[in-house]
Every structure is written in structure tokens, then in C-alpha cells.
């Protein structure tokens, strides 16, 4: 085996591990009913604490994890220093955020749950997914003309 083949193999396995994380994530999505249109309606109608509890405790867990990573300078498995990208503010976060919010309440799904919904056998959601990809494409097309 040449060194090239070796690195090719490790790259392939390198990505399969993300599929396993996604699988874990997808199971939690379904089991906690986060991908349910009904739960999203309850959230926006303030009729249930469920989604607020999920998002709140997810943020808290991630926040503590990030603090621990920074404090103990925890490295990646391959020994790299973990980097955090800072986000810069632009008006897109307001306009785009609002438009996404409208779509979130209509479809009952943010991008992650769309994939999980398809997995549960709701094949028609493929149309919603394709439409979301089209939405991203149209944004890319008009990006220079939109206020940011």
C-alpha cells in the first residue's frame, strides 16, 4: 500500500465518524419529538415548555463544554488546538433570521429536523428540502443586492 492510499483510507473513515454522530443526533431528534410540527406550534404558541427546555439545556451543556475545552486547552483527537470562529454582525441576521422564523413555524422544522423527518419515512419532506436548497441558491444569486 502506498502512503497515498493510506491517507485516502483515513479520510474516508474520518468522515464516517460524523455519520455516526449524525445518527445519534437524529435519534435524539425523533425521540424528543423536536422534529414534530406539533411541538414547534406549541413552542411558538407558548403552550409547552418542552422546546424551551430542550434548547435551553442544549445551550447550557454546550456552553459548559466549550468553557471546559478552553480552560483545560483540550485538543482534538489528532492533537490540533480547537478553534472557535467568531461571527460578525450584519443586518442579514435580522432580516434573514426573521424570514427563517416564518419558515420554521410553517414547516415545523429547522434544517436539521428536515433531514430527520425524511428519515422517519415522510418522503414528501424531500420537496421541502429541495425548496430549502433552492432558497439558499436564490439567496446566493441575489446576495450582492440584498441589505447586509
Amino acid at each position: 500500500m502506498t502512503p497515498n492510499e493510506l491517507s485516502h483510507n483515513s479520510a474516508w473513515w474520518g468522515n464516517i465518524k460524523y455519520t455516526l454522530v449524525g445518527l445519534y443526533f437524529g435519534v435524539v431528534f425523533v425521540k424528543a419529538e423536536i422534529i414534530s410540527w406539533f411541538r414547534i406550534q406549541e413552542m411558538f404558541r407558548l403552550e409547552s415548555f418542552h422546546m424551551y427546555g430542550v434548547i435551553g439545556s442544549a445551550v447550557a451543556t454546550a456552553l459548559i463544554s466549550v468553557l471546559l475545552i478552553k480552560k483545560f486547552n483540550i485538543k482534538t483527537l489528532s492533537g490540533e488546538t480547537i478553534t472557535f470562529n467568531s461571527k460578525t454582525f450584519n443586518k442579514g441576521q435580522i432580516y434573514g433570521g426573521f424570514l427563517f422564523g416564518l419558515g420554521w413555524a410553517m414547516t415545523g422544522a429547522c434544517p436539521g429536523p428536515l433531514f430527520a423527518q425524511i428519515g422517519t419515512g415522510a418522503t414528501v419532506i424531500v420537496v421541502t428540502l429541495l425548496s430549502a436548497i433552492a432558497g439558499t441558491w436564490v439567496y446566493g444569486y441575489f446576495r450582492e443586492k440584498l441589505p447586509h
Binding site: 416564518l102 419558515g103 413555524a105
Partner: protein, 189 residues
């Protein structure tokens, strides 16, 4: 109660939330990857229909891990729905049940409401608005905002980025407006 029966019950928020939050350090430690799902729409555009648009001219292959990640989400959805699903209908707030029944939405057997999201409904105005227009807004809005619930609300807030707080507040504002003021009109179509 066997373990499978236990797993098959709907999970409470205090179990699901921390499990979702753990995705952030898992991705960071596995390969220095920032959690964010809506970027995949951009990668798919860059891979399939870049059409010389500058926004889609980048090496999407470097981001291919994220497509593997969402592939896993599809598999996870399949696994959970096929082997770990509770046979009980989804328990929903009774006010919502009452309101939805006035629009003919009464089937709670599926996590994706069968009364609203099916191939036949796609041809109705109501179904077209919910699935096609709704999906378009999700894809357009998340990219315009530079992220979705995962990238802004979870990854962004947990790293204390104030632009992500602005984005999250706007997500919620849009959702509240749609669910309470516009959706009743769409559902009555």
C-alpha cells in the same frame, strides 16, 4: 419495563437537551468542526448548481464531513422511527388540539402530521405554502442570517457571540408571528 420499552417512550427535555448540546464538544474534539447544519444547503448548491455565482465558488469538498453528518441524521431518523417509536399518539397541549381540529387536523399518529404533509396535499394551496414556500423561507432565511438553530442558537450562543443572540431573537420573532397570526389563515385555506 425493558430497556427498549424505556427508550421507546418520548424523551423529556432534560434528557434530550443535554444530549443535543453534547454534539458541540463531540464535533470539536473529533475534528475541530463547528456545529451548523444549514451550511449543507450551500454545500449542495456549490456541488450541484454553482452556476458561476461567487457565493458558491469555494472548495465544498473540504466541508464534506457535514454532508456525512446530515446523512447520519437521516439514518438516525429512520432508526428511531422504525425500531424505537412509541406506539402512542403524540401528546399535545389540549388548546392546540382543539384549535387544529377546526382546520381538520386530527391525526397525531405520526411525528410529521399526516393531515398536512403528504404528496396529495402538495397540490393544494395550503400544502404548497407549508411545504414549498415554508421550505424556501428556511433555506433563504438561514443563509441570509448566516446560520440556523444549530449554528446560531446552539453553537453561537454557547460561544457567547452576540450576533447569534440577535439572530435567535429574530428566529423567534418570525416564528411567533407566523404561528399566531399568519398560520391560522394558511390552515383555513
Amino acid at each position: 419495563m425493558t430497556i427498549i420499552e424505556f427508550i421507546s417512550e418520548p424523551w423529556p427535555w432534560y434528557v434530550a437537551g443535554p444530549l443535543i448540546g453534547l454534539t458541540v464538544p463531540i464535533l470539536l474534539i473529533l475534528g475541530n468542526k463547528s456545529f451548523g447544519i444549514s451550511s449543507n444547503f450551500r454545500h449542495i448548491c456549490a456541488a450541484c448548481i454553482p452556476a458561476k455565482i461567487p457565493f458558491f465558488q469555494y472548495d465544498w469538498k473540504k466541508e464534506v464531513w457535514n454532508l456525512f453528518f446530515v446523512g447520519g441524521i437521516v439514518l438516525g431518523g429512520f432508526l428511531a422511527a422504525t425500531f424505537l417509536q412509541s406506539p402512542e399518539p403524540i401528546q399535545v397541549n389540549h388548546t392546540l388540539v382543539k384549535d387544529l381540529s377546526t382546520y381538520g387536523i386530527t391525526n397525531y399518529s405520526n411525528i410529521v402530521p399526516k393531515d398536512l404533509f403528504n404528496w396529495k396535499a402538495l397540490l393544494s394551496l395550503r400544502g404548497f405554502l407549508l411545504m414549498v414556500v415554508g421550505g424556501f423561507l428556511v433555506g433563504f432565511g438561514t443563509r441570509y442570517a448566516g446560520g440556523c438553530t444549530s449554528g446560531h442558537a446552539i453553537m453561537g450562543l454557547s460561544t457567547l457571540q452576540w450576533p447569534s443572540l440577535v439572530a435567535t431573537i429574530c428566529f423567534m420573532a418570525g416564528g411567533f408571528l407566523m404561528a399566531n397570526l399568519i398560520l391560522p389563515f394558511i390552515l383555513s385555506l
